[in-house]
Point group: C2
Chain length 202, copies 2
Amino acid sequence: MPRDSTETRRRLLAAADALFYGDGIRSVGVDAVAQKAGVTKRTLYYHFASKDDLVAAYLDGRDVPTLGRYQELIADSAEPVVQRVRRIFEHLKASAKSPRWRGCSFVRAAAEFAGSPGHPARVAASRHKKRFESWLAELLIAEGTADAASLARQVMILFDGAVTQILIHRDPSYADAAGAAAARLLSMRSAQHEAATSVSPP
Amino acid sequence: MPRDSTETRRRLLAAADALFYGDGIRSVGVDAVAQKAGVTKRTLYYHFASKDDLVAAYLDGRDVPTLGRYQELIADSAEPVVQRVRRIFEHLKASAKSPRWRGCSFVRAAAEFAGSPGHPARVAASRHKKRFESWLAELLIAEGTADAASLARQVMILFDGAVTQILIHRDPSYADAAGAAAARLLSMRSAQHEAATSVSPP
DNA sequence: GTCTATATGCCGATAGAC
DNA sequence: GTCTATCGGCATATAGAC
């Protein structure tokens, strides 16, 4: 008998999220996803055309919440931009301390499908990281930071570098080093910016 | 008839390296490795106890050459440390332009086995990155840089962050942003160091 | 040390009933 | 929309001949 279709789909996605993020995409079969969702494989293939289709939905489902968590973190803050950016790295450090933390789902997907340039997972990963970098740039622009685009890119690199090192060494303290580097790059620029603007006032 | 055993092993490792680095570890079967090496699966299992054993040998075989390439790159140079570090990122950018470049084998292995903390691939990845970071620290110490350990870690984070972003976006220019950030962090410190030391002379 | 042949099980994906 | 049953293929690993 037909149950609620959207509810079934939601449970399939929740199962896929837990299993793909926990153990990796290629190491998890569609059997396991269907079983965890409490349906048969045939039902999974009713809701998703292929495993790749399910993988794409899994990553798409992580895009907005992942970035959103960082956006909420510093939205309600009147702190200067240097402190806001430091909070991003503090949040990363705290997240990484969870025993269920397994790094960045998008980076890991791109790594797993490094040999398949056009794979939906690669497309989703690139799109998410571009959105993250653009958000950082807007953050710096709003603060009147000079060279915001370049600095946002450097902070993005520090962020993913820290995530990678934490995953490899299982040591969240790499977030401290990355946060300190980001703060130093930003305060250098801020200092230059202040120096440049403090010349003009009457 | 028994051929040269070490030669057979070498060819198995060469085949494993090409296939694992090209397509990923989990997506390549031992059948494909044996076939590319020109032997049967049974011979592969004579030389390696398991696929995990072969994977560990694959990564161990990349440890020394990978770091060695960067060491040779700046060993014969009398440039200041800032320029030497920039050359690391320039080399990364040049490497990433090759169509066969697929990011860092150690990062990708750690990503594939993120759900298996004790896996041999994870151990090999952590060991390699520690060696890389230690080498960077020695480089800075030799130059008399203050806070060499912290800066080496930050350069390491920038390096792996750049590798990751390049892989995700297929855009080697991320190496420029990372190199510029590293140079700025180092020149800040160098400036402080010079300022601190230029006070003492008579 | 290398071979042929095979054990055993999971892979993604599908047929057809209800 | 969900089910039972199954397809053909490939996974890691092994038995036993030479």
